[in-house]
Amino acid sequence: MIETTDPPGEESRDGTYLSSLAGRGTPLTVLTPMPRRWVPLLRAFLFIRHLMGAPADLKRMSFIHFAHWSVLPRLPGQQRRSRYAYLLFRSDFNGAWGKYIDAFSLEIPARMALIWGWSFGFPGALPPEPFRRYIAANDLEVDHYYSAYPGSGVTEIAAALRVREAYERHLGGADPAEFGAAWQRFLDEAQGDLYSWEAHS
């Protein structure tokens, strides 16, 4: 049992701090204690993953903007060593992460176990429900959150960058007299990315 005087209560995770940013960016911040003896092993595993580059299966799950893991044997400026090392995970998701964390459990349970398996309280990656509760219980309350594009998910960003590229290629230097034809070519190519669901129009 960890000694705490004022543990964060469940009521603090009602998500109200996101009210003004209700959009597609959701933070997840998880800090879990782990025995120090596993620090080198976990670091080595993360380093190998780093060398391997972004895994295709995670890329396919197009709801993660960014995810970062850090192993912290000691926090900056800490005088007295704490008993355990800590694993810090922070991520920016589209929408509610709770719906997606199941996908991690189901798609990459072994990797989840290799990352969080050293932390106390880890219930195993499968079945998904206990793992989801474990992450939820450890998700730190964010006091301030900022997203530069709160209304846009990962796939919309990818679509926008494709449109930008096609726009420059077809229309950037188009001869004014040829604009109509160039516009058609642009439309043919980019139409899949030109959805225009405007609630206000």
Partner: protein, 617 residues
């Protein structure tokens, strides 16, 4: 810290919070709920701040699967966790940013006082003023990411934001304007998409504006108001004029109302002479800047070199000729006329005012603009690139500026408070209005461009475009000719000092043409026409007079010697404009194209200040 393939970096900083301060830090962070200070820091994809007081309590999970039990046995020998906690509270910043963490920390300095509010209770925090120690504070407390996964496609914040805006505009255009049957697809496209993309706005810290106290003209140009009438008044007796002010003040349109797109609007400006005659105490009058105190009449010798106020008309033909201006605008004459009649009568009968003039204005829609673009008398689309007040008028093109550039009492572009020395009761939430009546000689303009047309493939239109720097529909020339009007009115990054300096001299232009349009090919009808140039600024000297004298009335800054901008100053007869090309062309100016017929600097007081002026004592 780990380099990620996309060029983004993970930054995490743990700053120790001084004992007993954690709750205060949290309260201050929560106060940023509506408006994130990180919106003003470039290159931040995501950022979060967490006050970490304790580690989350852990227990050994019950009912683990066989595999999980095995792992627990391996990792912890099957033992439950023992007590542990953080040694002291931390403020954790974690962000995903473009470029190196050290560069991000330097950019973080632009948070200014907000940085002090966030980290001020952290031990060792040096304040935001000295860059070296500020950056070191964060660098010393950073932890690296051992592994980063990026699901987002490669791109900086600026690239992603710009692409998202472009996609949304292009898609909306594709949905509503599918074919080119009438051959206007391109110009429609340019208006819907390109014009807005010319300059991606930089996110600036959004301002908390007291909209109900600010005159509406500051935040909106009322593009749907097709007609305008300006009533010029002189104060003949202070007390009754103040009583009248009290009755008219409630009719003045506030910025809180403009979102509802009212069919008519009233704004009220008072000159320095007017404030004097309304018996504002001398000590308050003396606090105003010299441009406003002297009035435009006294400044014109410099604003229009070589010409001064000689061509000025009534009621501007003497210093202090206009004390108060009522600016009425409406969607049409039916809305405007009865209201104007009443306001004119009220003013004339109040016993303290004399109506000394009246000026009409009307918009001229561009043929290809679908009612969204307006032209001025020379035939060019007008009002295209306007600066914006940070946090207001989302999504438009143009430089985003802090509110003090246009509203007194708020932070300006230099980090100062606009109108710091002014009497607060009178100036709070006010703005300056630069009013200039500029007559345009359309036949002279057409003669001039036609005379030089032979040298250009596109004839007179090419000459005109070269002089203005845009085509008639607003499309900018690339590259923009060095001495072109649009470049001289706003050089953006083209002068030494770049945008950092040029953005100190931008105005909100609220002008409207007057007089009838002279169709192309029509003979000189001898009718007066032109532009009522209206600009809203927070500093008439730095914003209006600087541009008028340094950039428009003199060519030195642009390497053009004494060459004047013929669209804003005297210019001619006998003057020649150099149009660079191969070979270069000289365009002779037969006679002045634009002549100032009068003008004044007015204060557009905040509505509370206006009511205060109306008080009897």
């Amino acid at each position: 810290m780990t380099r990620v393939k996309t060029g983004t970096r993970s930054v995490t900083v743990f700053a120790r919070i001084a004992d007993g301060r954690a709750a205060d830090v949290r309260d201050r962070l929560r106060a940023y709920r509506e408006q994130s200070p990180f919106a003003g820091v470039a290159g931040v994809h995501f950022a979060r701040l967490v006050v970490l007081e304790h580690a989350v309590r852990q227990t050994r999970p019950a009912g683990m699967s066989r595999k999980a039990r095995l792992l627990d046995l391996l990792a912890h020998g099957g033992r439950p966790p023992r007590p542990d906690d953080l040694p002291h509270p931390y403020l954790m910043l974690t962000a995903t940013v473009d470029g190196e963490p050290a560069d991000f920390f330097r950019r973080l300095q632009s948070l200014g006082p907000a940085a002090d509010a966030i980290w001020g209770d952290c031990t060792g925090y040096p304040g935001h003023h000295r860059q070296e120690s500020f950056v070191a504070f964060f660098a010393d407390r950073g932890v690296r990411a051992d592994y980063t996964f990026s699901g987002s496609p490669e791109g900086t914040v600026a690239q992603i934001s710009e692409a998202l805006r472009l996609r949304s505009k292009v898609a909306a255009f594709a949905a509503t304007a599918p074919d080119d049957a009438d051959g206007t697809l391109r110009s429609r496209f340019r208006i819907a998409v390109d014009l807005a993309e010319e300059q991606a706005p930089e996110p600036g810290p959004a301002a908390e504006l007291e909209l109900p106290d600010i005159q509406g003209l500051v935040l909106r140009g009322f593009g749907d108001h097709n007609v305008a009438a300006h009533l010029f008044l002189q104060v003949t007796s202070g007390a009754p004029a103040r009583r009248w002010l009290r009755t008219v003040a409630p009719e003045v349109t506030s910025a809180a109302e403009v979102g509802d797109r009212p069919a008519r609007a009233l704004h009220l400006g008072i000159s320095h002479a007017g404030l004097t005659r309304l018996e504002v105490p001398a000590a308050q009058l003396a606090a105003f800047p010299v441009e406003f105190r002297e009035g435009m009449h006294g400044r014109e010798e410099v604003l229009s070199p070589g010409r001064g106020t000689k061509p000025w008309q009534e009621p501007f033909d003497a210093p202090g000729g206009v004390d108060i201006v009522l600016l009425l605008s409406a969607t049409g004459d039916a809305e405007l006329e009865p209201w104007l009649d009443r306001l004119r009568t009220d003013a004339a009968e109040c016993g303290g005012l004399r109506v000394v003039g009246e000026q009409r204005g009307a918009r001229m829609p561009a043929p290809e603009g679908e009612g969204r673009l307006f032209i001025e008398h020379f035939g060019f689309a007008d009002g295209i690139s306007q600066p914006r007040v940070a946090g207001h008028g989302r999504g438009g093109p143009g430089e985003v500026l802090p509110p003090g550039e246009f509203v007194l009492g708020l932070p300006d572009v230099d980090g100062d408070i606009a109108g710091r020395h002014l009497p607060p009761g009178l100036s709070r939430n006010g703005s300056y209005l630069v009013y200039r009546k500029l007559e345009q000689d359309v036949p002279a303009f057409r003669e001039m461009t036609a005379a030089a047309a032979g040298r250009f493939e596109g004839g007179a239109d090419d000459v005109a475009a070269g002089l203005v720097g845009r085509r008639r529909d607003g499309e900018p020339l690339a590259p923009c000719p060095a001495g072109a009007h649009v470049r001289r009115a706003n050089p953006r990054g083209s002068l030494p000092g770049g945008r950092k300096l040029s953005r100190r001299h931008l105005m909100l232009r609220r002008g409207i043409p007057y007089g009838p349009y002279l169709p192309p090919g029509a003979d000189d009808d001898g009718v007066e026409r032109g532009l009522l140039f209206l600009a809203v600024v927070g500093d008439p000297g730095r914003q209006f007079e600087f541009v008028q004298t340094e950039w428009l009335a003199d060519g030195n800054a642009f390497g053009r010697g004494r060459e004047e901008d013929v669209f804003a100053t005297a210019g001619g007869p006998g003057a020649r404009i150099l149009l660079e090309g191969s070979p270069p062309a000289y365009v002779p100016v037969p006679r002045p194209l634009v002549t100032c017929r009068g003008g004044e600097y007015f204060l557009l007081p905040g509505l509370a200040a206006l009511r205060g002026l109306g008080n009897p004592d």
